[in-house]
């Protein structure tokens, strides 16, 4: 689904922050992306999201090389990737419900067509009674779950989550992990960037370990 082939990345004229990365995120796969702070986890996620262009190497999404994707095709490619940002990126002027529905709104769907799905998903992530409040009054964990729900609402093929348990206590982190595992079982490929070893120990999955810009894979 996402394939990187000999990818390198440098910012400006600085040293390479990512070097010789070659791996594939397969269909229905689950992997942790880990490494110390500053190892380049977020940069790698941004490469997979096509928010960054590698200095060298090839990135392919859904069987198509990224450089060959036309501007008109980009939005539909992005809609197949759900992303949970480290800082949530919820829109403060929209309610939790509206934030979660946003990916559907931008596709031009009528509210009547998605109301049930959004309501159901919000209940599923435990925000059933927080649907009509604004993000500034949500706790960190609630924001996290709202961001996850937004990433899932349009049933993406791939979910990229950047430190999705970084702002929550261990019990909630476990519950969020169960959520991702269930998502994976339902057929979505999941990439969770985290440096929480305790979290990774709870589920036996492929690990992509970044260290000093190089990647080691433990299947």
């Amino acid at each position: 689904m996402i394939k990187l082939d000999n990818v390198g990345l440098r910012y400006g004229l600085g040293p390479e922050v990512l070097s010789d990365l070659s791996f594939e995120i397969g269909p229905k796969s689950f992997q942790f992306l880990t490494g110390p702070s500053g190892a380049g986890k977020t940069s790698l996620l941004r490469l997979m999201l096509l928010a960054l262009k590698p200095t060298r190497g090839l990135v392919s999404l859904f069987g198509k090389e990224a450089a060959q994707i036309t501007p008109a095709e980009m939005p539909s490619i992005r809609r197949r990737i759900g992303v949970v940002f480290q800082d949530f990126r919820l829109l403060d002027h929209l309610t939790t419900y509206e934030n979660v529905a946003l990916p559907l709104v931008v596709r031009g769907k009528e509210e009547v067509a998605y109301r049930t799905d959004v309501t159901d998903l919000l209940k599923w992530v435990g925000l059933g009674d927080r649907m009509h409040v604004l993000p500034p009054v949500l706790s960190g964990g609630e924001k996290q779950r709202a961001a996850i729900a937004r990433a899932l609402i349009d049933q993406p093929n791939v979910l990229l989550a950047d430190e999705p348990t970084g702002n929550v206590d261990p019990p909630l982190a476990r519950r969020l992990l169960r959520l991702f595992i269930e998502l994976h079982r339902s057929g979505t490929s999941v990439v969770i960037a985290t440096h929480d070893l305790g979290l990774m120990d709870q589920f036996n999955a492929r690990r992509l370990v970044l260290n000093e810009g190089r990647l080691q894979i433990y299947d």
Binding site: Q68, L91, H93, E98, G108, K123
Partner: protein
């Protein structure tokens, strides 16, 4: 915080999975009675401080631009009226001559002038009016017959007519001794120059004000847009195409700009209407006559109001276009791929 609760429905959904959250008919989820969208269904938030400031800036700049436009239109109209009024009238002066009966000569001149094509009327200024004209210099109670005072005839030219004044001047000189014709050419020339200068200055001021308005509005719009960069990024990453994002912002800023520009333009129009009403109500007073002579009736005509409407439309469109351009440029900067066509 709801962290203490179960992630509700996690088990209930079971194999259906989170990615297919369609509720079965038997367990229809509770529907909210009404979706109270704070934002009125707009993805772009209602005006914050920057948006309100932009609205005020637009209103003020539109007001100033419309005021300048109206003032230029009014001055230009008044200058044209001065010129038209003076060039529609010529004066004939008859100097007293020995052995020439003044009243006969006046009548002779009147008949001669009236026979010329393009002349609307010829009026002899009678002795009483002549005495009134001379009163500031000679005082009251003078006997015109005792003094060698020149007499005047005023000739009104028909609207749009251009009588042959040279031929009239020659005919008067030949047939009426002591008669001379003054077509106010020197005055008209000065007025034409003054009117042209006034209009040119007004047009320059209007051009400067419009340029300043455009620049201020463009920069204020970009400033207001800066606060919305996060929204643009989120929309981009959840899969919105650039036209959708640009359309949302363009619609929002068009509405904001139109309301601001309408307020400014309406304010300027109200001032011109108020001045015109005041001028109309005070037209019979000496003060009103003085002001009317200098500034006309403060009317800017339908062209002036059309100009105000055009400025309102121009500014609203300008703001909308600027917001669209800014959004597209920002989205373009986020788009690292997709700039090349497949080979």
């Amino acid at each position: 915080m709801t962290d203490g609760r179960d992630i509700a429905g996690e088990k209930r959904r079971g194999a259906a999975g989170p990615a297919k959250p369609v509720a079965p008919a038997a367990a229809k989820p509770e529907q909210p009675a009404r979706y109270n969208l704070r934002s009125g269904r707009n993805i772009v938030p209602r005006e914050g401080v920057a948006g309100q400031a932009l609205g005020i800036v637009i209103a003020i700049m539109t007001f100033l631009a419309c005021l300048t436009l109206g003032a230029v239109a009014s001055v230009s109209d008044t200058a044209a009226n001065w010129q038209r009024d003076i060039s529609r009238e010529v004066t004939i002066q008859l100097k007293p001559f020995d052995n020439v009966e003044m009243e006969t000569a006046l009548k002779q001149a009147q008949d001669l002038v009236a026979s010329f094509e393009g002349v609307a009327s010829v009026a002899i200024i009678d002795k009483a009016d002549t005495a009134d004209l001379l009163e500031p210099w000679l005082g009251t109670g003078i006997d015109i017959d005792e003094l060698p005072v020149p007499r005047l005839l005023t000739v009104r030219i028909k609207d749009g007519a251009t009588p042959d004044l040279e031929a009239l001047r020659a005919a008067l000189a030949a047939k009426v001794p002591g008669a001379s014709l003054d077509d106010h050419r020197a005055w008209v020339d000065r007025l034409v120059t003054m009117a042209f200068t006034t209009i040119a200055i007004g047009a320059s001021v209007l051009a400067l004000v419009l340029t300043a308005t455009v620049l201020i509005v463009v920069f204020a719009t970009r400033g207001a847009m800066a606060g919305n960069r996060d929204i643009v990024e989120v929309l981009h990453f959840v899969g919105a195409d650039s036209n959708f994002i640009a359309h949302e912002f363009q619609r929002h800023f068009l509405s904001l700009a139109f309301r601001g520009a309408l307020a400014g333009g309406a304010g300027a129009a109200a001032i011109f209407i108020g001045l015109a009403v005041w001028a109309y109500l005070s037209r019979a007073t000496p003060q009103g006559d003085q002001i009317a002579a200098l500034f006309g009736g403060f009317t800017i005509g339908w062209l002036g109001y059309a100009g105000i409407a055009a400025i309102i439309g121009l500014i609203a469109m300008l703001v909308a276009a600027t917001s669209r351009y800014t959004v597209l440029r920002h989205v373009g900067s986020l788009e690292t791929y997709g700039r090349r066509r497949p080979e």
